[in-house]
Symmetry: C2
Subunit: 357 residues, 2 copies
């Protein structure tokens, strides 16, 4: 465990009111925006086909190229095999690496990320490079501007595999073309409570978008938080993909706001408020609580704040709390491995303290 | 609704530390003791066989006899048909009348009870008279002393049906003989949590005792509160019945204390404390709560106090609260009929206020 300082650091891409032009703070509905590019070195086998030696050579090339990029000059570089499983889990909990990358212990998995965690590059995940920029609120254009700059800089040094007809080549055909995935992390409790979420998700599929869980692909939603992202990476340029996602996300914001208006109607209002206050009561007094249950209750407080209920918490700290109560965070913060029971007790304590402050 | 003042009055037989010789305050385990006698006028049909005229004449005779008894000189007298259904429900909630008597609207159901509610007489329930004395804590002997005195006084005036071989005659053969039922209202959360309660209840049956629900025979337990009473009224004198019940109740107190000791053991302690604090949190913040759920959580606080947990409530007010949050109480307190939703909201508010005070 060597990442305690990181665990204690606030997540910058959750901070509201960033100085970003296309950012619209919609009652915390859009928590963050993320753009990632999948890139591979030309004339090199993909990581899953490369042995450890080849993977380490890829890592060396990436690290050397990174040093020439201004935006990445202060970045941390980690070989994941040098980190223990709690450190790797922490990186996943902070959305710096994928679930798969956290458990990838063969070959030479690597990670480069800036001190503010907004820019990161997974090396030797499914592709040689998975680069991402995460920014607060609804701001995929801001994220894309930065990522595009990094992509251009690295391409000069690394020569990415590119086919004139198919675009950027990737290990999995679902990423070919732009290699781009753009997503927004959205808090949609209104649509969940009013049972409109299923219909919305069915609609997304028809416009080439998809809804994923809290930790991305193949993970389940927690606390009514979903990743809305493009499903198709081919046949559109990057700007169109971002524009199209932005339009749909704006529609979802409107739907969610409409659903929250319904929650304020007489018959539902008392039930919803009761529900939120009960979550507040449980979080204020529980002595032991599991991650999933905690996130569900915290999500309720987040909804309560947007409904202007009087709760002694701030939206910013609520968002941070969703991340810091995760298992690896707790263990990094206390500086030692904990049993499940100890984690549940530590989690409850951390939540109680953060509600008092 | 004319019993608002009664609804607002504290229940005297729940107050701890009464000046009673045989009372032992066992961490609130025994909430109250009750002795009742079933009596019938001789040469008169039982109430279920009597028409309205005959029932009213019984009521008149009882009321006239009552006036000659010192202990009852200030008693209230009610014909239940003059009360609306909320008033009658209030009397049941305060354990002054049975579930059956509350819904008895044919004939001439009546009630006589002292201002402190410790002595009451149901008239024209199943028997002509059902007299009871309720006292706080473990004190059936105190209750019996008072009730015996009243029984003697009334017998002089009313001449109760008595058979030299079978004893006092009653409408149902399960009450024949002494006509006596003695019971203790016991809070047994320890035995419930440790799953020992079933075995205890099976044992009770073998020694001629029985466990009943919160409102007595045919009602279900609420908040781990049970009425432990004698099942047999025949073949023993009153003192033996009381002695035998007292012995068993003292054993149950020991079992319950033993169970609570188990709850303080490492593995269970955190779970139990978490559970109690969650109840505290829910009661502190809920905006709507049903009677059963509320009593379950209040019961947890009562347990918490006995486990020396820091909770901003007093045992006395906890016991009172279990009674005042009942539906008729709430409506009498606010002075008007409420819908189920309104009751749930009023109940939650009353609980929140009583936890703050």
């Amino acid at each position: 465990m060597i990442l305690g300082a990181l665990a204690k650091q606030e997540i910058n891409w959750l901070k509201s009111n960033p100085p970003a032009a296309d950012n619209v703070q919609e009652d915390g509905i859009v928590m963050s925006s993320r753009v990632r590019l999948a890139r591979n070195l030309s004339n090199q086998p993909f990581p899953l086909r490369a042995d450890r030696i080849l993977q380490l050579s890829t890592m060396d090339k990436v690290v050397s190229a990174v040093q020439s990029i201004n935006l990445l000059s202060n970045a941390y570089v980690h070989k994941l095999n040098d980190l223990d499983k709690i450190d790797r889990l922490l990186l996943m909990e902070r959305h710096l690496i994928s679930h798969e990358h956290a458990s990838n212990i063969n070959g030479g998995p690597g990670l480069v990320f800036t001190r503010d965690e907004t820019i990161s590059i997974m090396v030797n995940e499914e592709d040689h490079l998975r680069m991402q920029v995460i920014t607060p609120g609804l701001s995929p254009k801001i994220a894309w501007k930065t990522l595009n700059e990094i992509d251009d800089g690295l391409n000069e040094k690394l020569k990415f595999a590119f086919h004139p007809r198919w675009g950027y080549l990737t290990a999995c055909p679902t990423n070919i073309g732009t290699g781009m995935r753009v997503s927004c992390l959205m808090h949609l409790p209104g649509l969940v409570i009013t049972n409109e979420i299923e219909r919305l998700f069915n609609g997304l599929t028809r416009v080439g978008l998809t809804a994923r869980g809290f930790y991305g692909e193949g993970t389940k939603p927690l606390g009514d938080i979903f990743q809305i992202s493009n499903a198709v990476t081919l046949g559109k340029n990057e700007e169109s993909i971002i524009d199209d996602l932005g339009k749909v996300v704006n529609s979802i914001i409107r739907y969610e706001k409409g659903a929250r208006q319904k929650l304020l109607k007489d018959s539902l209002k008392e039930k919803v408020e009761d529900n939120i206050y009960r979550s507040y009561g449980i979080l204020s007094f529980a002595k032991s609580i599991e991650t999933e249950e905690a996130i569900q209750h915290i999500s309720k407080l987040k909804l309560g704040l947007s409904l202007k209920m009087k709760l002694a918490v701030k939206l910013d700290s609520i968002d941070q709390l969703i991340f810091t109560i995760q298992p690896a965070h707790l263990q990094e913060i206390v500086g030692r491995e904990l049993t499940a029971e100890q984690r549940d007790a530590t989690r409850a304590e951390l939540i109680r303290k953060s509600l008092i402050n």
